[in-house]
């Protein structure tokens, strides 16, 4: 009926909230990637020799790799030599020692993004490692973390200050040759976050990073490495936004998680990169490799993601369940509108005995968007008594969008148990009519229905993020009702 279509069209008309550009003088490399660029990048970051070698090896390998084309997405060919691989805000001093020393323009940017660092420090007890383009500008709460023995710093610092840990674990979960985008990242990663939680320590606060792409024509290649030692616990949140630009920008991040015996890592993402305009012009290409390995017995890795941004998303946060009794979880809400395309899901690789995994995926498609769930559940011969539960639900708003599900199940162990449920539904005209007949305006109605659909995933998010995620869905759906 007319209602939902009209509603969809109006929701689609919303403007991107975070679409402003910060005027800051920047040191930016000429576009293009070659060994010389990598050497300069490594030199600027004062990296030890092993790091440069690792990058160069990755680069040489990447040159021989093919860009993957199996995902259910389409985009114009990327010219990797038209991208600049380094951009850092220019500063008078070397590194700011406190927030007072941070460029006020940058701080204003964070204010606009709704991340007032001061407020967060005081109210939420969240330590924020804010990555602006390629360099980590302000890291707060280092001291209380240091007291607990937790290392929380930029990956660049970690390369210099904790080279043994970095050398041991970097690339141990996502090798440089894993895939095309991971290879590019290994060669050219700009910055990112490093976390180490020592044995038996429960990280005293939620750790959080906001990434932001600012300079035009820059790719952002963050690299995140989180290591949870025996019996430790850490919850990590990341939020992403990017300014509005007509050109597409590439974001090829790699996240690696390592959980030892009895350790737990909870990794939550709220991704709101610029999705492009209502004609599908511009927007971020979000080609990300996220993977965690449950190395130890009884370890647990939990991914929760709310993906509302980006023009094209290619992302499969995965778990390798190596330790016996280890647990992997994937909770996902992916919303696409206008011409956005998402191909996202997870891989659960069961290696150890009695390993278990849960996948809850909620895809919401509006406008002319395309939303695909792609998941692999694999049981290796040693995965005695392993089990998986998968639930994939798709919700359609309007009649011009698409939802696809590509589940793959491979079992090489007869004792493994796998359950799979999938549903596709629509925000129906009847539901809209019921809400509106009760005096609820159409936008609020759609938002309420969509939030209800996502409830199982939102309850996995840390409280303050759950509220933010709900609001984000509302903004992303603005105009999809009329």
């Amino acid at each position: 009926m007319a209602t939902t279509d009209k509603e969809v069209k109006e929701l689609i008309k919303r403007e991107y909230e975070h679409g402003f550009v910060t005027e800051i003088e920047a040191d930016t490399f000429e576009p293009g990637l070659n060994e010389d660029v990598i050497r300069r990048l490594s030199a600027i970051k004062q990296e030890p020799e092993f790091m440069l070698e690792w990058r160069l090896k990755a680069y040489r390998r990447w040159l021989e790799m093919e860009e993957p084309d199996w995902a259910h997405v389409g985009y114009p060919k990327i010219d990797y030599n038209s991208i600049s691989y380094y951009s850092a805000p220019k500063r008078k001093e070397d590194m700011p020692q406190s927030l007072d020393e941070v460029d006020p323009e940058l701080l204003k940017t964070y204010e606009k993004l709704g991340i007032p660092l001061h407020e967060r420090e005081k109210l939420a007890g969240v330590a924020v490692d804010a990555v602006f383009d390629s360099v980590s500008v302000a890291t707060t709460f280092k001291e209380p973390l240091a007291k607990a023995g937790v290392i929380f710093c930029s990956i660049s610092e970690a390369v210099r200050d904790y080279p043994e840990l970095v050398q041991k674990y970097l690339g141990s979960v996502v090798p440089a040759g894993d895939n095309f985008f991971a290879g590019l990242n290994a060669a050219a990663f700009s910055d990112g976050t490093f976390v180490y939680v020592p044995k038996g320590v429960r990280c005293p606060m939620e750790l959080s990073t906001y990434f932001r792409i600012n300079a035009a024509n820059t790719g952002q290649f963050e690299r995140t490495l989180i290591i949870a030692d025996e019996g430790s616990y850490v919850s990590y949140l990341e939020g992403c936004t990017a300014p509005m630009r007509d050109e597409n920008q590439l974001h090829a991040a790699v996240v690696e998680l390592v959980a030892m015996d009895d350790a737990q890592i909870k990794y939550s993402t709220v991704q709101n990169w610029y999705p492009g305009d209502e004609e599908g012009k511009g927007g971020i290409f979000n080609f990300v490799t996220k993977r965690g390995t449950c190395l130890g017995r009884n370890s647990k890795i939990s991914w929760t993601q709310v993906e509302t941004g980006s023009a094209v998303t290619w992302k499969y946060p995965s778990c390798i369940l190596r330790g016996d009794n280890s647990v992997g979880e994937f909770y996902s809400v992916a919303l696409t509108n206008n011409y956005q395309q998402a191909d996202t899901g997870t891989k659960m690789i069961h290696l150890g005995k009695n390993t278990s995994s849960t996948i809850i995926s909620k895809g919401i498609s509006a406008g002319r968007s395309s939303n695909a769930y792609r998941g692999l559940v694999k049981f290796q011969p040693g995965a005695e008594g392993a089990r998986n539960f998968t639930q994939c639900d798709s919700l359609l708003i309007g009649d011009q969008c698409g939802a696809h599900t590509f589940p793959y199940i491979e079992s090489r162990n007869k004792s493994a148990i796998v359950e799979h449920e999938a549903t596709t539904s629509k925000v129906s005209d009847e539901q809209m009519f019921l809400c509106r007949q009760r005096g609820i305006d159409p936008e609020q109605a759609v938002s309420m229905i969509v939030n209800g659909f996502c409830k199982e995933v939102f309850k996995e998010l840390p409280m303050e993020f759950a509220v933010e995620a709900g609001k984000l869905l509302e903004v992303s759906l603005e105009g999809s009702v009329g």
């Binding site: 009926m1 007319a2 209602t3 129906s428 005209d429 009847e430 539901q431 009519f433 019921l434 809400c435 509106r436 007949q437 009760r438 005096g439 609820i440 305006d441 159409p442 609020q444 309420m448 229905i449 939030n451 209800g452 659909f453 996502c454 409830k455 199982e456």
Partner: protein, 254 residues
């Protein structure tokens, strides 16, 4: 209160309502009866503003205000309430959240402060008892897994919460056993008030034993062909619709 003049409406190009005239005053209870396919449900949907139906001619005013110019949600805020024949499910959205959103939309429209979760919970619990619904239903998804009777009681509970000017009840009696019918009727009778009108749409007379109407109208072929008092319904029960020269498809099928 409600004035309908020469109302024509169609769905997918097919004309269903072919010139309805009806005047309803505050405090009155009207029953619209008629065989299946006569346009009873269409009339309720059109009044509530379901956009699947197109009004091609005529006018409808609520207290002098042109209703047809208003969006569905604005009609609701002006006091039109429709109790659905087949209430739809909204999975994951709790009944409580849904109801509070609706009540607060109305309060906001009337310039009243919104109710917080605790205040609303208290009110909702009281009202749920009035229709004999376990307050546990408030926490469940809207109509999710409700039985037919529970859905109908849930609809009446919403009317009691929203206190509309005009409550339209679309086949509220269908699918109810006698006990449930009594509970629902008690709820509807509790709605009766001097400043409120009720329009009941029903196929069967038996509802009118419990909710006694002031006027009864017979709808057939998209027009009101006969109006009368309570006794008209009894006569219909006794003599069927055939007596008025109309074919009752359901009766024929039975």
């Amino acid at each position: 209160m409600l004035s309908i003049k020469n109302l024509h409406a169609s769905v997918e190009g097919k004309e269903i309502l072919k010139g309805i005239n009806l005047e309803i005053k505050a405090g009155e209870v009207h029953a619209i009866m008629g065989p299946n396919g006569s346009g009873k449900s269409t009339l309720s949907q059109v009044l509530a503003g379901n956009e699947a139906f197109e009004v091609t001619e005529g006018e409808v005013t609520l207290n002098g205000q042109n209703l047809l110019e208003l969006e569905t949600e604005d009609r609701a805020l002006e006091g039109i309430f429709l109790a659905f024949q087949y209430p739809v499910e909204i999975p994951g959205v709790s009944n409580l959240q849904f109801l509070r959103t609706a009540v607060n939309a109305a309060r906001q429209h009337q310039g009243q402060a919104e109710m917080n979760a605790a205040e609303f919970m208290k009110l909702a619990k009281e009202v749920s008892k009035q229709v004999d619904l376990d307050p546990a239903f408030l926490k469940r998804g809207v109509n999710e897994g409700f039985s037919g009777g529970e859905k109908k009681r849930n609809e009446i509970m919403q009317a009691l919460l929203l206190q509309p000017k005009l409550a339209i009840l679309d086949e509220t009696d269908s699918g109810l056993d006698i006990d449930a019918l009594k509970v629902v009727s008690d709820g509807v009778n509790a709605l009766r008030a001097e400043d409120r009108a009720i329009l009941m749409v029903t196929h069967y007379q038996r509802l009118l034993d419990y909710i006694v109407p002031d006027y009864v109208h017979v709808l057939a072929g998209g027009r009101i062909i006969k109006s009368g008092g309570r006794e008209l319904a009894l006569e219909l029960e006794e003599r069927g619709y055939g007596w008025l020269g109309i074919k009752d498809e359901e009766a024929a099928a039975n």
